[in-house]
Point group: C2
DNA sequence: CCTAATCCCTCTAGCTACTGTAGCTTCAAG
DNA sequence: CTTGAAGCTACAGTAGCTAGAGGGATTAGG
């Protein structure tokens, strides 16, 4: 029955202590038992769950998705279609973000490259940003 | 002396009305004059400034950067090195985000592709997320 | 001129996923 | 038994808005 303090658990998983209390508050981590003085004492099961959460967060899953994944992980005999769907949806949203960022990248790179680097009156960056006629039609 | 209501300005720029009040509150837009009844009345100069802001936001500049750009745009004879630097810094942060997302994309794509699509007990996605030995060493 | 519809006003709270602070208590080592 | 590190709660703040309550102003039609 290994039991860890909140600080120990935090160091093991690379989280800040406040984050663990926050995860408990929002119900992502179960409330652990306390010492007589009111301090939290965690078990190996807590560590395992938190590691899962940490890894999923590192991969960019949002907390609702992680909640769903944890719930699904409790049913080993269920088919994993739901799990795959969460992962695929996440993949799609990443692809979407990448595409948007690449579009931005192109526009901004073009702005900076075509700037003559003289003064602000003929700075291409400022010009592009101020050209609201184009902007209003292109972006909405 | 064209003057617009807040709703008109919002429609012109594609913003929500609340956002314009918010921009005024944080000092990004100047407070316009009011009618006797207390309603805001904007001028063409407001529209121009807001269009600039809108375009810059669409390109992903954060509000502090936009403040700086607007300040710089007021000095047409100054060199545009500061402007270019803001744009280049933004470009670098976009490149950084793209790189991170591509790394995530690879990991998640691999997870989903190697999943046998049976049940949760042998779902590759859940396995990877639960493998905290690997995870703790690879990611911190 | 009156009325109804539409717009606008302020103020407050909420969103994500945390992070930081203040002021206090508990624990573990020596 | 003392001391210093670590823990506790509660609240405020981050970015950039969005939504709602409970009212007042404006305007177009009749």
């Amino acid at each position: 029955m290994s039991d860890y303090s909140i600080g120990h658990l935090a160091r093991q998983t690379g989280y800040a202590v406040q984050t663990l209390r926050y995860y408990e508050e929002i119900g992502l981590m179960p409330a652990p038992p306390r010492t007589g003085g009111g301090q939290r004492r965690y078990s190996a099961a807590h560590l395992e769950r938190l590691s899962f959460i940490r890894h999923a967060r590192d991969l960019g899953f949002d907390i609702d998705a992680i909640r769903a994944l944890l719930r699904l992980a409790e049913h080993p005999n269920a088919p994993c279609t739901d799990v795959d769907q969460i992962a695929l949806a996440h993949l799609a949203s990443i692809d979407d973000k990448i595409a948007r960022l690449q579009a931005l990248r192109r526009e901004i790179a073009q702005m900076t490259e075509s700037c003559a680097n003289r003064n602000i009156a003929n700075c291409r960056v400022i010009e592009v940003l101020a050209e609201h006629k184009q902007c209003l039609h292109d972006h909405h």
